[in-house]
C-alpha cells in the first residue's frame, strides 16, 4: 500500500478536528473524502501534507514516516482550496521559484505551462488571474516534482462550469497516469464522476469507507445530503 495512517489524531481548542483514524490507501486509487463542514476532511489532508502537526498517530508514505518531511516532500503534492501563490509575481516567476526549490529543470515549467494551457498567462501577475486560472497554476506547481500522490482540498470550489470540467479532466488524466489522488468535495456529481473509493468523515470520525456504488445506496449518503 502507498499511504498508511495509524491512529492519526488532531484536536483543536474548539474540540473539533480529527479523532484517531486508521486508513490504508493503495497506489492508483482516486478517493473522495466527504462529510459536512467541520467533519475533519481538510484537517486530514493538512496532516498528510505536514501543514498540521498531529497530536498523536503516524502516517507512512511508501513506508517512510511523514515526520521525515524532507524524505516524503517529493512524494505528495497538495492543492489547497485557496491558491497560495505569490500574488505580486507572474505565473512564470512562481513556477520558476518552486522549480528551483524542487531542483527540477526549467524544461519542466514549459511542460506544465503547456499541459495546463497557461502559456498565454506566463507573464501575467497572479493577482490579475481568475480563481480558476490561479487554481490551474496551483495544480501545475504541485506537479513540478511529479509526485505520485496528489491531494486536493475542494478543487472546484468557487470555480465556473467550464473550469470545473477542465479540472475533472485533469484529475482523470492524473488518475490514468497512475497517480494516487485524494480530494475533498461537497458535490455528489463530482464524487460520482471521479471517485473509485469514498471515505466519509463525521465529527472527526471515519463513518464510511467503500466503493461509490455501495455509498450511493447507503443511508449515509441520504443522511449527508438530506
Amino acid at each position: 500500500m502507498q499511504i498508511k495512517i495509524q491512529q492519526l489524531t488532531k484536536i483543536y481548542k474548539e474540540k473539533r478536528g480529527l479523532l484517531p483514524i486508521d486508513l490504508e490507501v493503495e497506489e492508483g486509487e482516486l478517493i473522495a473524502l466527504i462529510g459536512h463542514n467541520g467533519a475533519g476532511k481538510s484537517t486530514l489532508l493538512k496532516l498528510l501534507t505536514g501543514w498540521l502537526i498531529p497530536d498523536r498517530g503516524q502516517v507512512f508514505v511508501d513506508g517512510i514516516n511523514l515526520k521525515n518531511r524532507l524524505a516524503v516532500v517529493r512524494k505528495i503534492g497538495f492543492v489547497p482550496e485557496t491558491p497560495n501563490l505569490f500574488d505580486f509575481f507572474t505565473v512564470g516567476y512562481n513556477l520558476r521559484l518552486f522549480a528551483r526549490l524542487f531542483q527540477v529543470p526549467f524544461q519542466r515549467i514549459e511542460e506544465i505551462l503547456k499541459a495546463f494551457n497557461l502559456l498565454p498567462f506566463r507573464n501575467n501577475k497572479i493577482q490579475v488571474l481568475s480563481k480558476g486560472l490561479k487554481q490551474r497554476v496551483s495544480i501545475g506547481r504541485s506537479l513540478l516534482a511529479d509526485p505520485p500522490v496528489l491531494l486536493f482540498d475542494e478543487p472546484t470550489s468557487g470555480i465556473d462550469f467550464d473550469m470545473t470540467k477542465e479540472i475533472y479532466r485533469l484529475l482523470t488524466e492524473f488518475h490514468r497516469s497512475g497517480k494516487t489522488i485524494i480530494f475533498t468535495s461537497h458535490r455528489p456529481e463530482e464524487i460520482k464522476t471521479l471517485a473509485t473509493r469514498i471515505i466519509v468523515l463525521h465529527q472527526g470520525c471515519l463513518v464510511f469507507d467503500g466503493s461509490p456504488q455501495t455509498y450511493f445506496q447507503s443511508e449515509i449518503h441520504e443522511k449527508l445530503y438530506q
Binding site: 501534507t49 505536514g50 501543514w51 498540521l52 502537526i53 518531511r69 524532507l70 516532500v73 517529493r74 505528495i76 503534492g77 497538495f78 489547497p80 485557496t82 497560495n84 501563490l85 505569490f86 500574488d87 518552486f98 526549490l101 524542487f102 531542483q103 506547481r141 504541485s142 516534482a145
Partner: protein, 342 residues
Amino acid sequence: MIKNIIILTLNDLAISFKNKSIFLILFIPFFVYVSLMLVDEAGVDIQKTRIGLIQSEPYAPVILDAVQSADTLFSVLWVPDEEEGKKQVKEKKIDGLLLRSEKEKTGLVLVVLKKESVLSLSIVEGFSALQKAVEGHNMNWISDIQPLQEGGIQQQTLPTWILMLALLVSFIIMPAQIAEEKEKKILLALLQTPMREIEWLTAKLFLGMILISIAVLFLHLMGGFDFGNALTYFAFIGVGSFCFSSYGIFLGFLCRNQASARTLGVIFYLPHLLPSALSDFSQKLSTVAPFLPSYPFFESVKSILLDHNGIATLIPAWIYLFFVGVLTFFMAYRLMKKRWLM
C-alpha cells in the same frame, strides 16, 4: 442610512478589537504615561546634578565651599584623576566634571558629554546662580565647556536615527512580512518543497540584516557622516541587525495575520526606541533602558560614532546583542517547527 452607518461603525470597531488595533490606542497613552513618570520631574523631587571633582585638583576654596554647601542642587563625587572622571562622565555615573582652567586661574573647565545638551545648560545655569549668591556678581566660574562627544547636532542625533531605522525594519516590516506569508499560506506552500525550516528562517534573517544595513549606509551617504571606527561600527551594525531581525521574525511568528503583526510591532517598537533614545535626558530612564536590547546597541553606536571607541570596551554589549539574537532566532525556529498559528 444612519442605521447602516451605525452598523458599519460598530462592525469596524469589532474588527479593530479582532485585529488588536484597539490595543494600540490603549497602549500608546499608557506607554507615554509610564515614560513621563520615568522622566525626571522638575520641582521638589528634582534630581541633583552629579558633579565630579578631582581629588588632587587645588580648586579655589570659595568654589569648593559653595558647591559642597549647595547640596540641594549638586551632589559631589570625588574621582582620583581626570581620566577616571572623564570615564565616569561617559558612563553617565556623573553629569559633569570640573577641572581647573589653565587659561584663567580662578576659572573652571566643565567636562560634559555633549555641549548642546539640556543637562550641560542646567549645570552652567546652576553654577551661575550659585556664584551670584556667593559673590554677588556674574563673572562665570565656568570659563570653558569641554564636550567629550564631538560633532554637530546632526552627528549627535545620528545614533538615534540609526536605532530608529533598525527597529523600524525589525519590528514593523519583518513581523508583517512573516505574518503575511503565514496568513496567505505561502509559507506552507514553501514547506511542501525540500526547503528546510532553517533555510527559510535564515533567508528572512538576511533580509532584515540587508534592509537595515542598506538603510544605515544610505543615511551615512546622504548625510556625509563618517563611520567612526569603521570595523567596530560594522561589527555592531552586523550584530544589531542580527539581533533585531531575529527578534522581528520571532514577533511575526506570534501573530496569525498582518494586522496583529503590525499592532504587536508598534507595541514593541516604541518601548525599544524611546527609553534608549531619551536616556540622555533622564537619569531615571537611563537606569531602566539598559534592560532593553536596544540600549546597548544605541549606546555602542553612539560610543563608536561620537567617541571613536574601539571594540575592546564594547565586547559585553556585542555579546549581549548576539545572545538575544540567537535566543529569539531559536524561539522562532521552535514556533515554526510547531507550525504556530499557521
